[in-house]
């Protein structure tokens, strides 16, 4: 490996005499100090968020706890295609497919489990899903668990969660697979 010699900065005599630069440095840190001490909320440069007391609002596309989206009848939109389980780099999605009683739909997940201890929150499952059945838009952190079994969230748990705004379970969301209503 070649040795790279960093170019030497030529300090002028003024800079090497150090004292004026000390005064200027003091000026900078004092400006920050007094600006933060006496400044108004707007002019302050403080970046700290006092975490448990105030919580930062997460960005729009924050990837939090997953949820499964329901159809209008309340059943899951998932068609058990295994795309998410295949895309998952942590192998945390476990699906058991069964034949759907609905003629329009081939399969439905008899079991859909996510092991929250293994999930790395990469969002690949959301990208892979062709049915818009799984999203990570709840804005929630993974809850704390007391044992490992509890950390495996099933279909019912995931269907019960709402989106971040706390409203829509996304009925009739515009989806490239759903440009016309089902059954028509």
């Amino acid at each position: 490996m070649a040795i790279r010699v960093r170019e030497k900065v030529d300090y002028s005599l003024y800079e090497r005499s150090y004292l004026p630069e000390v005064v200027r440095g003091l000026g900078i840190s004092l400006r920050h100090f007094f600006g933060n001490l006496f400044g108004s909320k707007k002019t302050r440069l403080l970046q700290t968020v006092r975490y448990p007391d105030e919580k930062r609002i997460y960005p729009e596309r924050f990837r939090g706890q997953h949820r499964l989206l329901p159809r209008e009848d309340g059943s899951s939109r998932c068609v058990a295609c295994y795309m998410c389980a295949t895309a998952c780099p942590a192998y945390c999605i476990h699906i058991v497919a069964e034949e759907s009683p609905d003629d329009e739909i081939e399969k439905y997940p008899a079991a859909f489990e996510i092991d929250m201890l293994r999930c790395i929150y990469c969002g690949f499952c959301v990208e892979a899903c062709p049915e818009d059945a799984i999203r990570m838009d709840t804005g929630l952190h993974t809850p704390a668990f007391l044992n490992r079994q509890d950390a495996v969230l099933g279909r019912v748990d995931l269907l019960g969660l709402l989106g971040r705004s706390g409203t829509e379970p996304a009925y009739g969301a515009q989806n490239y697979r759903e440009d016309k209503p089902r059954g028509s």
Binding site: Y14, P20, V22, V23, N36, L46
Partner: protein, 397 residues
């Protein structure tokens, strides 16, 4: 009898009620001040009780209390292979020698109570300043012995660095003080304060910083190096040799830390005494009255003492704040740079200062020439800072 009682009272007022609480407060101030300088908020969470559902944090002022409690209840651990007696004594040496210097610093004018004249200075010794330096040099035994007795290579390195640094800077420190001694013609600290009374050239305070600005600057730098704090904190270094207190836990470490802050207070007090006129405030504070413009209030002797103490306290506090700000503004030196600065820059500068002071005093013993010279020096420095060239390539943020 009066002397004994008054000395004890002075000790309580100055050391137990001023210097020690200020040193404790400085631990908090340092954390908050550095935080605000770096756009953080610092510690604000310690509280003992809750009022109306809100914890009372007092801006984090309870953190020193929590820290002290933690220190006291920790195990005082000493390695088996250490020299137990020295290991125990070392923190005390550093702490006590720093405290003793406080005895020599005058913190107020002489007051008269019931016919007794009581100087607001714990001990008034003619050797004054010399004794200050003597105890300053003894202080390094604390660090050196701690490093030696710990039987730890890193601690020893720290101790050696501390002693080498202290010895190097003591020379510069002593020689800069010579300029002050020549100017004011006294080694006793209250006499030095008395010599700074009044105005010079008709408009400037007769302070050491006016007649000896160069010495003031050198003294401040050298004294900061003596306190072993950034940018001169080579005896400690978390990332390399850790420090001479490596094998200390509990209050042993606490004493080293508190001793460091006591040293800051001592240095500030010494600087205020030598260069900022001690407890005096020209223009406003008279012999026995306070005057603001046309209004003048006569004060009894004890009230003058209180006012003097407040002024001295304010000066010391501001100097402490300045030192902390310096610490959080400057990067630390490399060890060779430290030695270079001490021996090749500060020492010759101190000698030059003595020479120039001597010549100016020989020409004009009334200090007027010195004051003009000092004023010129300060104006020159301010001009240089304001008009100096800037590197624009390095943005500030």
């Amino acid at each position: 009898m009066v002397i004994v009682v008054s000395t004890i009272i002075k000790f309580i007022v100055f050391v137990l009620l001023f210097a020690m609480p200020l040193a404790t407060l400085l631990t908090w101030m340092e954390r908050r001040q550095s935080a605000y300088s770096q756009d953080r908020i610092g510690p604000t969470r310690a509280h003992i009780f809750t009022l109306f559902g809100k914890p009372i944090v007092l801006g984090g002022l309870l953190h020193p209390v929590a820290d002290a409690l933690k220190m006291f209840f920790k195990e005082s651990f000493a390695p088996d292979s250490s020299d137990h007696a020295l290991h125990r004594i070392a923190p005390l040496i550093g702490f006590v020698t720093a405290l003793i210097v406080l005895a020599l610093i005058p913190f107020g004018p002489d007051i008269t109570i019931a016919g007794h004249v009581i100087p607001l200075q714990i001990v008034r010794l003619d050797s004054g300043l010399l004794l200050v330096f003597a105890f300053g040099s003894l202080g390094v035994y604390g660090a050196a012995l701690a490093g030696w007795a710990s039987n730890n290579r890193f601690a020893l390195m720290g101790g050696i660095r501390a002693s080498a640094q202290a010895i190097s800077y003591e020379i510069a420190l002593g020689l800069t003080a010579v300029g002050v001694l020549m100017t004011f013609g006294a080694t006793e600290l209250s006499e030095i304060v008395a010599a700074q009374d009044g105005l010079i050239l008709g408009f400037l305070p007769r302070w050491g910083i006016v007649v000896q600005p160069f010495a003031a600057m050198l003294f401040f730098v050298a004294a900061m190096a003596e306190t072993k704090r950034a940018p001169f904190d080579l005896p400690e270094g978390e990332s390399e040799i850790i420090g001479y207190f490596l094998e200390y836990s509990s209050m042993g470490f606490g004493l080293f830390m508190l001793g460091e802050f006591i040293e800051i207070v001592v240095l500030s007090g010494l600087f205020a005494t030598l260069f900022l006129g001690g407890w005096q405030l020209p223009w406003i504070l008279g012999e026995s009255s306070i005057s603001l413009g046309a209004i003048a209030i006569e004060l009894p002797s004890w009230a003058m003492g209180v006012v003097g103490m407040l002024i001295f306290g304010a000066k010391v506090f501001l100097l402490c704040a300045l030192q902390i700000q310096l610490r959080w503004s400057l990067p630390r030196f490399r060890y060779d740079q430290l030695m270079h600065l001490g021996w090749k820059i500060l020492l010759p500068c101190a000698l030059v200062n003595i020479f120039v002071t001597g010549v100016l005093l020989w020409i004009d013993p009334s200090l007027n020439l010195l004051a003009w010279f000092g004023l010129g020096l300060m104006v020159f420095f301010v001009m240089v800072v304001i008009a100096g060239p800037r590197r624009t390539a390095l943005a500030e943020h």
